[in-house]
C-alpha cells in the first residue's frame, strides 16, 4: 500500500503543473479514448482467454478419462453417470463429507467409488498443478532466472529429507507427513535465505545458496535410505520423492485447498510487483519498491504454493519449471496474464500427466512425477532448440 494517496502532498507540485510548453499538445489528447493503456482489461487478451478455455476442456476431458479407470470395473457410461449423479451433486451431506471430512452418506457403489476415490484424485491434481505452476512462475521472476523452479531455493530437498526422516526415524509421526514435508521445505527455504543474505540478497546469491542447500539435504536424504529397514518404507519414501497422486483422496484435497486459494490470490495480487521486479533491482528500487521485502514476501507466497503441492503429491519434478515457460510462450511475459495463465494451464497439464501416469503402463500405475520428468525434460529441450530466447523473462 502507498504511504499516502497518489495525489497526496506531492500532488500540489506535480510534474504537470511545472511543465509549460509541451504539456498543451498532449495532456488532453486521448482522454476518454477507449484504446488507451489499461482501458481494456488485460485479462481479456485473446490468447489468454483461448488458453483458459483450452485448459478447462483438458481438465474436464482428462478428469472424465481418469474417473473411468480403476481397479473396480465399471463401464465408461456408468462412471460418467456417477460423476453427474444428481443425488450426490445436490446432496449437502455428501459435500460435508467431502469438504469437511464427515461421514459419507449412502450412495450407490459406483457413485461412492467415483466420488470418493477417483474424483478427488483429479481435484488434487488440479490443486497441485495450479500451485506448482504459480510457484515456478513467481520464482522465475524473483530470481530473474528462467531455469528457476519451485524447488530452486531448497524446498524439494528440505521436504524430501523431512519425509525420509519421518518415515525412517520418527515413524510415529507418519500421520503428520504432509505437514512435516511442508515444514521441512519451508525450513530449507529459510536456511537458503539466511545464507544468501549479506546486506540484502541478489538473484544469483539466492540461486547459489539454493543449489548448495539442495546438495546437502540430498546427501542427507540418501544417507537416510541406508537406515530404512523394510521395502515398504523405501517404496513409500520413493513415492514421496518422485511425486505421486496415487491414492490421494478428499483428505488431501482438504489439506491443499486453503493454502492453494491463498497462494493463488496473493500471487495474482503480486503480479504487478513481479512485473516491476523484472526491470532489475535498481530500477525497481528507484520506482519506490522495497525490493528486499517484496522479494521475500513473494518468495514466501511461492513457498506456500510449493508446500501445498508437496504436502499432497510429493515432489513432482520439472512441472514448475516447464509450465510457466509454456504459458509465457502463449501469453507473453506480463505477469498479470502469466499468473492467470498458470492457474489454468497448471491444472490442465497436471491432470493430463496424471492420466498418463495411470494409463501408460496399464494396469500398473507409475508416479506422476515420472511422467512429468520424462515428458517435461525433453519438451524443455525442444523449446530450447526451437528458439534462441527460451523463456526470456
Amino acid at each position: 500500500m502507498t504511504e499516502d494517496g497518489p495525489t497526496g502532498e506531492d500532488g500540489r507540485r506535480g510534474f504537470g503543473d511545472r511543465v509549460r510548453a509541451w504539456r498543451g499538445d498532449t495532456a488532453e489528447t486521448g482522454r476518454g479514448t477507449p484504446d488507451r493503456i489499461g482501458r481494456v482489461p488485460t485479462l481479456l487478451d485473446p490468447s489468454l482467454v483461448a488458453l483458459a478455455v483450452a485448459s478447462t476442456i483438458v481438465v474436464m476431458v482428462g478428469g472424465l478419462i481418469q474417473v473411468s479407470h480403476g481397479s473396480y470395473s465399471m463401464t465408461i457410461e456408468q462412471a460418467w453417470a456417477a460423476v453427474f449423479n444428481p443425488n450426490v451433486i445436490f446432496n449437502p451431506q455428501a459435500w460435508d463429507a467431502f469438504l469437511l471430512g464427515e461421514a459419507v452418506p449412502e450412495m450407490s457403489t459406483e457413485s461412492l467409488i467415483v466420488w470418493n476415490i477417483r474424483l478427488p484424485r483429479v481435484l488434487v491434481a488440479v490443486l497441485a498443478g495450479m500451485c506448482l505452476a504459480v510457484s515456478g512462475a513467481i520464482f522465475q521472476a524473483v530470481t530473474r532466472n528462467e531455469l528457476a523452479s519451485p524447488f530452486v531455493l531448497g524446498v524439494s530437498s528440505g521436504a524430501g529429507f523431512t519425509v525420509l526422516l519421518t518415515l525412517v526415524v520418527f515413524s510415529s509421526l507418519t500421520p503428520f507427513l504432509p505437514l512435516l514435508a511442508a515444514v521441512g521445505g519451508t525450513l530449507a527455504f529459510l536456511i537458503v535465505y539466511f545464507i544468501a543474505w549479506k546486506d540484502g540478497t541478489s538473484p544469483i546469491r539466492l540461486v547459489l545458496a539454493g543449489v548448495i542447500v539442495n546438495m546437502v539435504f540430498q546427501s542427507l536424504q540418501r544417507a537416510m535410505f541406508f537406515f530404512a529397514d523394510d521395502l515398504g518404507t523405501v517404496q513409500s519414501a520413493m513415492a514421496w520423492i518422485t511425486g505421486s497422486l496415487t491414492g490421494v483422496g478428499w483428505e488431501e484435497f482438504r489439506i491443499a485447498a486453503i493454502p492453494t486459494l491463498f497462494a493463488v490470490l496473493f500471487a495474482l495480487a503480486g503480479a504487478r510487483q513481479l512485473n516491476v521486479l523484472l526491470l532489475g533491482e535498481q530500477t525497481a528500487g528507484s520506482l519506490g519498491m522495497r525490493v528486499e521485502r517484496v522479494r521475500f514476501l513473494l518468495s514466501a507466497v511461492a513457498i506456500l504454493a510449493a508446500s501445498a503441492a508437496i504436502a499432497v503429491a510429493g515432489i513432482i519434478s520439472f512441472f514448475g519449471l516447464v509450465v510457466p515457460h509454456i504459458v509465457r510462450l502463449t501469453v507473453g511475459s506480463d505477469y498479470r496474464k502469466l499468473i492467470v495463465g498458470c492457474v489454468f494451464a497448471g491444472p490442465a497439464l497436471m491432470v493430463a500427466a496424471d492420466v498418463g501416469a495411470r494409463l501408460a503402463l496399464r494396469p500398473a500405475q507409475i508416479p506422476v512425477g515420472v511422467v512429468t520428468g520424462v515428458v517435461g525434460g525433453p519438451y524443455f529441450l525442444y523449446l530450447m532448440r526451437r528458439q534462441e530466447t527460451l523463456g526470456e523473462i
Binding site: 502507498t2 511545472r18 511543465v19 498532449t26 493503456i37 546486506d199 530500477t283 520506482l287
Partner: protein, 316 residues
Amino acid sequence: MTGENGCTTDGGTGSLLSEKDDADGADGTPTEDELNEAPAAAASEFAGDDLVIGYPSTDEPVVDGESISVPPGEVTALVGPNGSGKSTLLKGLADQLSLDRGTVRVDGADVHDLGAKRLARKLGLLSQDSTAPNSISVEKLVAHGRYPHRGAFESLTDADRDAIDRAIAMADVDHLRDRDIGSLSGGQQQLAWIAMALAQETDVLLLDEPTTFLDLRHQLQVLEIVERLRDESETTVVLVLHDIEQAAQYADHVVALEDGEIYARGPPESVVTEALLADVFGIDAAVTRTDHGPQVTPLRPLADGDETGGPDGQRD
C-alpha cells in the same frame, strides 16, 4: 587558490554551494505544512551533505566525505574518469546505496525519512543495469514509471495515462509506443527507459550515463530531452556523462570527480580546462572556447605522474 590551473573553487561558484557552511542554511527538516505552502512552480532543492558512500564488499568508501548541492531546476553533470566515483555518488544521492555517513535532502527533507514510494515521487533514477522482458511494449514499460503514484491494487487513472502520454511525447517515442522492447535498437530502448523515468514525474531526475553505448544521433536525442526538461519544466536534473564535451555543452554546471573526491565544480567554462583534463582525466588536450561552450580536442594520454596540477592540497 588554484588560479593558475583554472579550477574553480567554492568561492568562485556562488550558485553551487558546497561544504558545510552553505548546507547549514537548510537547517532542520521543514514540516509538511511548510512544504505545502511552497510556491507551486519552485524547482526542488537537492543536496547531499558530508557523504561517505561505499559498497558492502569493500572496506574503503568510494566517496569519502563530499558535499554537493545541485542548483534547482538546472542541469548538473558529473564527470570524471572510470572509477572516479560518479555513479557511486549518484546512487548514494538516490538512496539506492546506503550512506555510511551524511544526509541527502530533497526540499530540506532527508530522503531516508521519506517512504520509498514518496521518495520515488520526488526523486527518480535511471540506472545502467535496467533489464526488461523483450516482449513488453514501450507503452507498458513507460506505465511502470507510474508505480510510485499507484496503490498496490489501483489501476491506471486518467492522470496516470496523461502522465504516460506526456512522457512518451517528451521522449519522442510515440512512433514506438506499441513496439516490443526486444525489437528496438539500443538507442531506442534507452529513449523508452528515459520515458519511463519521465512518467515518474519527479522533481529531481538522476540519470546514470544515459548516453553511454548509444550512437551519436541517439546521444543527441537523449541530451535534447535533458534540455527540454530544463527549459520546459522545473525538473532538477543530475546526470553522469562520460563525454566531457557533451557535459560542457549541455550542462549548466559541471562537477568533476577524481578518486571519489570532487575536484572542481562550476559552470562549464570554468571547469572544463586544459589543466583539469590533465589532472583529472590524465590527458593532454586543447580546449577552445566556442559558442557551444568549451570544445575539447584530446591530443595524447599523459604518462602517470605527468600531471601538470599542483599538489593535492590545492584541490577542491
